[in-house]
């Protein structure tokens, strides 16, 4: 439900559910260990940030931006270059990546957020592609298609408590989890505030909104910049987790993946993109067993879920809830 005041918001059942979820997420590394499962959860967290931030633009503001991967890529390269050239650790890289991506969104947004519909969609695709080509061809700085390896995660020495190596999955998991939580919290906070009412106006009927003082451009810009900020941070986390960035991060296929997660999960819901990110990250991994049929199976699942749950998979949960109460 897109409305800001759901009936069971802040209810005891909901509070309990949140606490249980938080505890489960926090103990995961101890249960799963330092292996492949934890790796998947870290990837889930990174994609949660991408999907959740994109839902602000595509879902809540109703602007079909197909350039979200550009901000992911910008964040990744900002973090990588700061580390490799200036020795700035991930702790500096994360905020820097977010801020540079947001500033880039403001500059691009000043141009593209004045147009709507097909023209907007095309310009966002073009932006991501231009960024990819710039990164690909600035060989002196980015090494082009070869990419930039060796972006390590930090090791923190705590006096008297020993050291934490964020190169280990367990430590990195908590960073990624915190990033995803901050992103989801921020998106929820914005869409439930009066800014969220303005986003609904922009999405539902721009002219009517403008006729009662709601600047479409201002609200589009807020969604675009905040979305880019968290996509940038996701890029930074990606760089320090995989220790490698390449121009492929700007590829259209990344944007499509994020978009699928948002739409399948539920684009004007808080939990939908999270659910979409987790399900599709895990599915894409576990379907590897089916080798060349993987993408076919993924495609069929996608098609069926879009046709069955046009409002997203969270609708499925709401379905069960209402059936049980009525």
């Amino acid at each position: 439900m897109a409305s800001s005041s759901g009936p069971n918001r802040g209810s005891p059942a909901r509070t309990t559910a949140s606490i249980v979820l938080a505890v489960v997420l926090l103990v995961c590394p101890f249960v799963l260990g330092e292996g492949y499962q934890l790796h998947l959860l870290i990837v889930c967290a990174i994609f949660t940030m991408l999907a959740s931030s994109l839902s602000l633009v595509v879902g809540y503001a109703g602007l079909l931006s197909l350039g979200h991967a550009a901000f992911f890529g910008i964040g990744a390269y900002v973090s990588a270059l700061l580390y490799l050239r200036f020795g700035v650790s991930m702790w500096g890289g994360i905020p820097a990546a977010g801020i540079v991506s947001a500033v880039a969104a403001c500059l691009v947004g000043a141009l593209v957020l004045r147009v709507r519909g097909n023209r907007f969609i095309i310009t966002t695709v073009a932006f991501a592609e231009i960024m990819r080509i710039i990164v690909l061809n600035s060989v002196d700085i980015t090494r082009g298609q070869m990419g930039l390896p060796g972006i390590a995660a930090p090791i923190v020495h705590l006096p008297g408590l020993g050291t934490i190596d964020f190169g280990h999955k367990t430590a990195f998991y908590y960073v990624a989890l915190a990033g995803a939580a901050l992103c989801v919290w921020t998106v929820a906070r914005i869409v439930r505030s009066p800014i969220g009412w303005g986003l609904a106006a922009l999405r539902e009927n721009e002219s009517l909104g403008e006729s009662v003082g709601v600047s479409a451009f201002r609200h589009a810009m807020i969604a675009f910049a905040v979305g880019a900020f968290f996509a940038g941070i996701a890029g930074s986390l990606y760089a320090h987790y995989f220790n490698f960035v390449s121009p492929d991060l700007f590829l259209f296929s990344y944007t499509t993946t994020m978009l699928v997660m948002v739409v399948i999960g539920g684009k004007t819901t808080i939990l939908g993109p999270v659910l979409g990110a987790v399900i599709f990250t895990l599915l894409a991994e576990y379907l590897r067993a089916f080798d060349q049929y993987r993408l076919v199976i993924l495609g069929v699942i996608l098609l069926v879920s879009v046709l069955t749950f046009p409002k997203g998979l969270v609708d499925l949960g709401a379905h069960f809830m209402t059936r049980r109460t009525s």
Binding site: S207, G213, V214
Partner: protein, 260 residues
């Protein structure tokens, strides 16, 4: 009474053809001013220019002491000039309650920072919204429909909803573009009393309307447009007897013979 809205020499051409030509008039605070004229007279175009949806080729619009000519619609709205549309506009996938609440943003829009830090100003505004929306829904008679989606409303209800959204924006002047079209007799009556309630509440009303019954009963001043030009202006009774007005509506012979 002072002029709340002053329109001076407003003109616009579409491909060399003058849709509105050199129109001037003033709408007073606390008054109901109606713009009438046959189809294609340029009434809606005039509305669009005043509210910023159409840039005029010539002329000026002054509202509440400010030149607002050619400004963006939302800026003009923020000054207190709010409009409705001829083709009914709502936020289709939002509840009636949520639709009206959007109108409240005309008085206050928090910054991103205020929202993220959870400033008390934002909380107070959001908490107070509910009561204000209720009041407005009561006034237009949509209280029972508060939880319904806007797209589920009947045509007449949607027209009332659009006015409710406009009222939530706390206008100094509200422009209603053919609000009575498509309304049944009952709803028209409700509209007339609503317009009087707005006037009583100190809101100036600028009305474009074909329903002459409504125009004659609620208006303080009537402005008549024909082929994009102003041909008459005055009190309702005086205008209805004006020869050029009768001629514009019924043809030249009627204008010269019948009334004389």
């Amino acid at each position: 009474m002072s002029a709340m809205l002053e329109v001076k020499g407003l003109s616009v051409e579409f491909g060399g053809l003058a849709a509105v030509n050199d129109v001037s008039f003033a709408a007073n605070a606390g008054a109901v001013t109606s713009v009438i004229g046959p189809n294609g007279a340029g009434k809606t175009t005039l509305f669009n220019m005043i509210s910023g949806f159409q840039r005029p080729s010539h002329g000026h619009v002054r509202f509440a002491g400010h030149d607002v000519t050619g400004q963006q619609p939302w800026r003009i709205a923020r000054r207190g000039l709010v409009r409705t549309f001829q083709k009914t506009e709502v936020f289709p996938e939002l509840s009636v309650f949520d639709c009206v609440r959007i109108g409240l943003l005309n008085s206050y829009q928090p910054s991103l920072l205020e929202v993220l830090v959870g400033s008390t100003k934002v909380t107070r505004f959001a908490d107070g919204a509910s009561a204000t929306v209720q009041e407005i829904l009561d006034l237009v008679g949509l209280t029972r429909r508060a939880a319904a989606m806007a797209r589920e409303l009947s045509y007449g209800e949607q027209r009332l909803l659009e006015i409710a959204v406009g009222l939530a924006a706390r206008p100094k002047l509200i422009m209603l573009d053919e609000p009575a079209s498509g309304l049944n007799a009952e709803e028209s009556k409700r509209l007339a009393s609503l317009i009087r309630a707005m006037q009583a509440g100190g809101i100036a009303v600028l009305l474009v309307e074909h329903n002459m019954n409504l125009v004659m009963t609620v208006s303080d001043l009537v402005v008549v447009l024909h082929h994009g030009e102003k041909i008459a202006q005055g009190a309702p009774v005086a205008v209805s007897r004006d020869r050029s007005v009768v001629a514009a509506y019924l043809g030249r012979e009627w204008g010269t013979d019948a009334v004389a």
